[in-house]
Symmetry: C2
Subunit: 362 residues, 2 copies
């Protein structure tokens, strides 16, 4: 079957070039006579892959030298616990501030409550998370150990347009669904974490970027594998890393660099998103669900006037090779996730299909 | 380059058929138009892969119905914490018994000490772990929450020939380096866990087999992702699983079933190991390091009379396409890891090479 345009929220599309390279190297990686899957993680060949992955990510995100980069397992869900286990003890009060912008923020909040006192400084739950609350510096507690945000909300399709000023309190960000899709000044953050399965690579590898001075304050109850410091000291090889997903992530970084890096990718992402949002704004039957100012570049939820039409649209789109457009149950309707690997042609094909659907159904 | 024989302790060889299938399906899995890496873990296609993996594993290991099977992340190192976090609280005393048969046992012991009182009931450290201690039922505390063993010791090349009788105390086993290589009666265990990267598939997926009645007793401090029950309730999809490694594991299970299952594989493994041990026993210069009765079928450490010869052997073997034979620093010399995917021809080639080396160097 020809390749389809896959609008899944994650795991999601990967660049075809990356898949082709992975397939061609499967039985013999660069003349080693082995697959990357079979390599000892202590072998020179694999260590080179891991080091290249880090170097490329540092270059792509312009990560300052006083930040460590980790490639871990367990997804953002494990980070929901690792962040408080490692950072909550920074100050005696064991307090952390959270902004609640959707289901993933909520999960992070729930987990942090196990290990300290959480204050939700703002929430957009009143409007089913269709905006990002306005945040001012006085909302954040200067005595908090850290403050936590979710830069892009996969389910509700919102994103922060600017970062909150939390003063000296380290800002921690779950960047799972928009890392590498737009430029961020890493020095504004204490910790950035992201599951791979949206903009980085296959599920199974998790990126953590952490400012050095935040290392080493784990609570006593922290399992060894959930302490950042041990992974930093062992360069992400305290135990066997998820070698193959990390290798594919490295191929994605190569691809992204060849495409011109994050700034160039952001431009493409803005074009892709604009194409879709402009159509939604002019449509008689399709309607975006998010306040304009906070619209995500990555996840675009939209609805039709009835559930019957929503269902018909998803079904017909699937038949046309535009798959995984069904929206999350918390929003309903449709959601198009248009991560880095979704080509402009894919979004164009979707918009054309929506136009056609509109002309037939209005 | 032609494929080499890879004697790595893990990650390690995979069946060539599995790699070929993975390569051929990389861009289009069974007419879906997507790679397995790109599939939503909630898609029908991926759920079928995950279900097949479980069904095959249940069949291969004859797992009784009152056991749950989990596919998690984090490796055995994460299990070193998950086991005590989930099981230590079974009894008020929060006690656990451990047998220390090497570095991985030690790590499991160190981690368990964070969450309860650990008693090391026996150790083989006096002889650098070259045997398995004799274990009798009276050595185990009937009031312990569980008892822990390492069925095969990757570094020291030992394995249990029979399981200890721990009475009503659940036996927990780290089976990372010999799961699926020989038959085990799962009903003798409370929990079996194993990292994938030896006999199962690529690094990044971890198998846990747990008796139902042991679920639900997590300590309060347990991070959500480290509780077994939440993963059972969500059929290993509480969060995004390591989809691609799990898919390759499923291909390995298919391959193993086609080869006749675990009993047939055990026969081949016994032949492979016998070939190597018989040569070692008859050699003038090569010498196995483990007491005969406790020799592993999977990891075969051996030494030459001098470090110079060890070094020369490893170097020449590598040049001959027999790679990763350098021993672990705790034993020195060489180690041949001959997991399921190592064909008989690979062991034969190694023995022939050793014979030749002996004739040139004695």
């Amino acid at each position: 079957m020809p390749r389809v345009y896959n609008f899944s929220a994650g795991p999601s599309m990967l660049p075809e070039e990356v898949l082709k390279t992975a397939a061609s190297e499967m039985l013999d990686y660069q003349n080693t006579g082995t697959s990357v899957m079979e390599m000892s993680h202590r072998s020179n060949a694999f260590i080179a892959i891991a080091k290249d992955a880090e170097t490329l990510l540092r270059e792509l995100m312009e990560i300052p030298e006083n930040y460590k980069v980790l490639f871990l397992q367990g997804g953002a869900s494990t980070q929901f616990a690792m962040v408080p286990l490692n950072l909550m003890g920074r100050k005696e009060g064991k307090k952390a501030d959270f902004v609640n912008t959707g289901m993933w923020s909520k999960k992070a909040i729930g987990e942090a409550k196990k290990f300290g006192t959480v204050k939700v400084v703002a929430t957009s739950e009143d409007k089913n998370f269709n905006y990002i609350p306005t945040l001012t510096k006085d909302m954040f507690d200067p005595q908090a150990s850290y403050a936590h945000i979710t830069t892009n909300n996969t389910i509700f399709g919102t994103r922060y347009r600017e970062l909150p000023d939390t003063g000296d309190v380290p800002l921690v960000a779950d960047m799972s669904s928009n890392i590498l899709s737009e430029r961020y000044d890493v020095s504004k953050f204490g910790v950035i974490y992201a599951g791979a399965q949206k903009n980085i690579g296959p599920a199974g590898v998790t990126i953590v970027i952490i400012r050095e001075d935040l290392l080493g304050g784990e609570l006593d109850i922290t399992p060894t594998m959930l302490g950042y410091k041990v992974h930093v000291e062992n360069e992400s090889m305290y135990n066997t890393p998820p070698c193959y997903p990390l290798y594919v992530a490295k191929l994605v970084f190569d691809w992204l660099k060849a495409k011109g890096g994050v700034a160039a990718m952001q431009k493409v992402n803005e074009e892709k998103a604009a194409m879709l949002y402009e159509f939604l704004d002019g449509s008689k039957i399709f309607k975006g669900t998010v306040e304009k100012e906070y619209r995500s570049l990555m996840n675009v939820p939209f609805v039709l006037p009835s559930d019957d039409l929503n269902g018909a649209f998803v079904k017909q789109a699937t038949a046309a090779g535009l798959i995984n457009l069904k929206g999350h149950r918390s929003v309903g309707g449709m959601r198009a996730s248009i991560y880095n690997a979704m080509p402009v042609e894919g979004v164009r094909a979707l918009v054309e299909f929506m136009k056609e659907f509109e002309s037939k159904n209005s």
